[in-house]
Amino acid sequence: MSYHSRVDRRWATRRAANPEYEPYHPKWHRKRVPIFWWLERPSYTKFITRELTSLAVGYAAVLLMVQVWVMARGPGAYERFLAILASPAIVAFHAVVFLFLLFHSVTWLNLAPQALVVRLGGRRVPDRVVLAGHYVAWLVATAVVAGYLLWGVP
């Protein structure tokens, strides 16, 4: 039996077990993509940085829940948690996280006009108006969140 028919049979069984199975062809001629391909051009690096902001978003979600969990354990636990948050290493780490969160916000909102076509009275709202609307929403959301955390509902 030839190499290719053996490999074809193996793929067929794997595909039967898992319809999403993508055949991998190690022996076919293909250009090798180096693992650090995203360092080759600034635009690639920007792309991968934008993709990596998801780690900051996930981390923020988890830390938020850790903080709520700590607060349920009383004022002493909360005081100790605040002391950890104020330690230099954590502050430095969170500064990086915060920059990634900002990068996520800016890149995400900048794409909004391409994702969302708004029509008013049969006419398409220009991209820059849609974009400005999203930035206004960001400003309002920031004010609401900060106001609620610092002063509660008046």
Binding site: A86, S105, V145
Partner: protein, 118 residues
């Protein structure tokens, strides 16, 4: 034919991305810089518990955290495929990313459910 789940996870990714973009920087700045470093007039422990413990706030937090986690799961899945050239580990990566997001969301629901009411 098996229906693709891609539209569902994309909707979670995209709504999570929008919510995260709008509110996470403000939350991060106040909770992890402003209050611990004394840059803002910090609310007392009791006031903060009352703010977090409000039923509407809990619901908003649950939505924000769940959607942010699925935003992470979906985007990080493709980062691993493309960035590290791991598309041959398709099934395992998808299970880890969405499974991780689902497990952490359940944990978040438990944390918020058991949080003391003010």
């Amino acid at each position: 034919m098996k229906r693709s789940k891609e539209p569902l996870v994309w909707a979670l990714f995209s709504s999570g991305g929008m919510l995260a973009a709008l509110v996470l920087p403000a939350l991060a700045f106040v909770l992890w810089f402003g209050i611990p470093l004394g840059w803002v007039p910090a609310p007392s422990y009791e006031a903060l518990v009352a703010e977090i413990g409000h039923p509407v706030a809990k619901l908003v937090l649950l939505g924000l955290v769940t959607l942010s986690l699925f935003h992470w799961g979906h985007r990080f899945r493709y980062t691993l495929y493309d960035g590290l050239q791991l598309s041959h580990l398709y099934g395992m990566i998808a299970t880890l990313c969405y499974g991780g997001a689902a497990a952490l969301s359940l944990l978040a629901a438990w944390v918020l459910w058991t949080f003391p009411l003010p």
